[in-house]
């Protein structure tokens, strides 16, 4: 079973996910089907279940398994996910509302991708009270 790494914090917004790796200060922004995949991962899941959830949402798109595999490899390489023990007991497709689990929603499948920003690590080390630039203000630092 796969799950977010312990050093990772994330926030699911309307159509995107913001992910921060607290061990490096790297910031990731995910959109499109990456958002659905991350929602599944938040509850702990397997690649097969992720593919199944995406099929339910987007229909039988042939690209889904390869896209998911590649994406999970990328997440693993970035240290954002890790193996989290055995599989959970069977349940509804993870991360989808019951009404969405029946038929495709008509949305078009977009291959998952993310943007990575490495220029914010300094925020982890800065103090908003004492290190803020007096003219430009926080988060600009002295």
């Amino acid at each position: 079973m796969l799950a977010p790494a312990p050093s990772v914090i994330s926030e699911i917004l309307d159509n995107e996910v913001v992910i921060i790796d607290m061990s490096t200060g790297y910031y990731f922004n995910m959109t499109g089907s990456a958002t659905n995949i991350w929602q599944c991962l938040m509850d702990g899941t397997t690649p097969e279940k992720i593919c199944e959830s995406l099929r339910v949402r987007f229909g039988a798109v042939p690209d889904i398994p390869a896209a998911v595999d590649t994406f999970l490899e990328q997440l693993r390489a970035e240290g954002l996910i890790e193996d989290a023990g055995s599989e959970p007991p069977p349940a509804e497709p993870v991360g989808l509302a019951p009404e969405l689990s029946q038929t495709p929603t008509g949305e078009q499948f977009q291959p998952p991708s993310f943007e990575k920003f490495t220029d914010m690590a300094h925020i982890l080390l800065a103090d908003p009270v004492h290190d803020a630039d007096p003219t430009r203000g926080w988060p600009s630092t002295r």
Binding site: L125, P128, G137
Partner: protein, 329 residues
């Protein structure tokens, strides 16, 4: 852009331009800068929210349900929209007097350290987190300065607070009416913005956003009554006038001649901030409770003279250092 950044609103500016579909009309370098500020604010706020969850969870574990104030409350309930829009400096929590010591111990056990007591505020313990793990956290025993408390005491805010839950976490937020009262009192009275005719842009933006969403759930009679009773009605009128003139959001608070004149004065200090910052900094530099913490007991006039001598000595030393640095020979 400089003003937006200074007031932690660069993210909001980015969202406003993007929301209107006008990003292409803005130079690339500006869009890049604003997008980066938006991202940095998101980064900070996602971390603050994570931090809040951990602190609230620990307090819940010892049967304390904190009242989350200001930006932290908006982050948890999502009412400030995208976390990239509104920046914040720290987390503010209020607990009941009989829970204060236990709360302090619980927060310290999470790895927070109280800030230098000399510069601590009398109404809260200011904690700092281990570098990297999060921002500052203020644990309040009261809501602020005597002027703020005269409008909204902590006991009233706690008694009228709204219980909330986020997954398995229990916390409370101020009622919509108290949220407005606190926003105005904090912006205009706590940091002397009204007296100094300064423009607390971020708090004005917060008021505009909150009132737009909650206009009908706020008891405006109670809001005006509280400020009138405390003899602070002009600060409420001035705040509402500023919001109306700068953000176009009207509220049931009437527009008075005095508020309109205050707005004109604010526009002057906005262009020349020294006009508002100098008197305010002097006030805080010689503020009574700070004098007592720094120098102990004694007649206040003597303490202030002693402090003025010290400041003068420091200033003179700094000037000499600068001159020597420029002319080492």
């Amino acid at each position: 852009m400089g003003v937006a950044k200074q007031h932690l609103l660069a993210g909001a500016l980015f969202e406003a331009i993007r929301g209107r579909g006008e990003l292409l009309a803005v130079p690339d370098a500006v869009v890049f800068d604003l997008a980066r500020a938006h991202r940095e604010t998101r980064f900070e706020n996602v971390r603050f929210k994570h931090q809040l969850r951990a602190v609230i969870g620990a307090l819940n574990h010892v049967d304390i349900v904190p009242l989350v104030l200001k930006g932290g409350a908006f982050l948890l309930d999502g009412s400030s929209g995208d976390p990239g829009a509104r920046g914040m400096y720290d987390i503010d929590l209020l607990v009941r007097p009989n829970e204060f010591d236990r709360s302090q111990a619980t927060i310290a056990a999470l790895g927070y350290h109280p800030k230098d007591p000399l510069h601590a505020s009398p109404h809260a313990v200011n904690f700092v987190c281990e570098t990297g793990a999060g921002g500052g956290l203020d644990l309040h025993r009261d809501l602020g300065s005597p002027a703020l408390i005269s409008v909204l005491p902590a006991s009233d805010a706690l008694a009228r607070s709204v219980p909330r839950a986020l997954e398995d976490l229990r916390y409370a937020t101020m009622s919509p009416t108290d949220t407005v009262i606190h926003n105005v009192a904090h912006a205009q009275l706590q940091t002397l913005e009204h007296a100094a005719a300064a423009v607390p842009l971020r708090q004005l933006h917060t008021y505009a956003t909150y009132v737009t969403q909650n206009l009908d759930t706020v008891d405006w009679n109670e809001v005006t009554h509280r400020f009138r009773l405390a003899g602070r009605r002009p600060s409420l009128d001035a705040h509402a006038e500023l919001v109306y003139r700068l953000f176009g959001i009207a509220t049931p608070v009437e527009s008075t001649l005095r508020a309109r004149l205050h707005y004109e004065r604010c526009m002057v200090t906005f262009v020349s901030p020294v006009l508002s910052e100098l008197p305010r900094n002097l006030y805080f530099a010689f503020e009574a409770s700070y004098m007592r913490r720094r120098y102990g007991s004694g007649p206040m006039t003597m303490l202030r003279i002693r402090h003025a001598k010290r400041l003068w000595k420091d200033l003179r030393a700094r000037v000499v250092d600068q001159v020597l640095a420029r002319h080492p020979q």
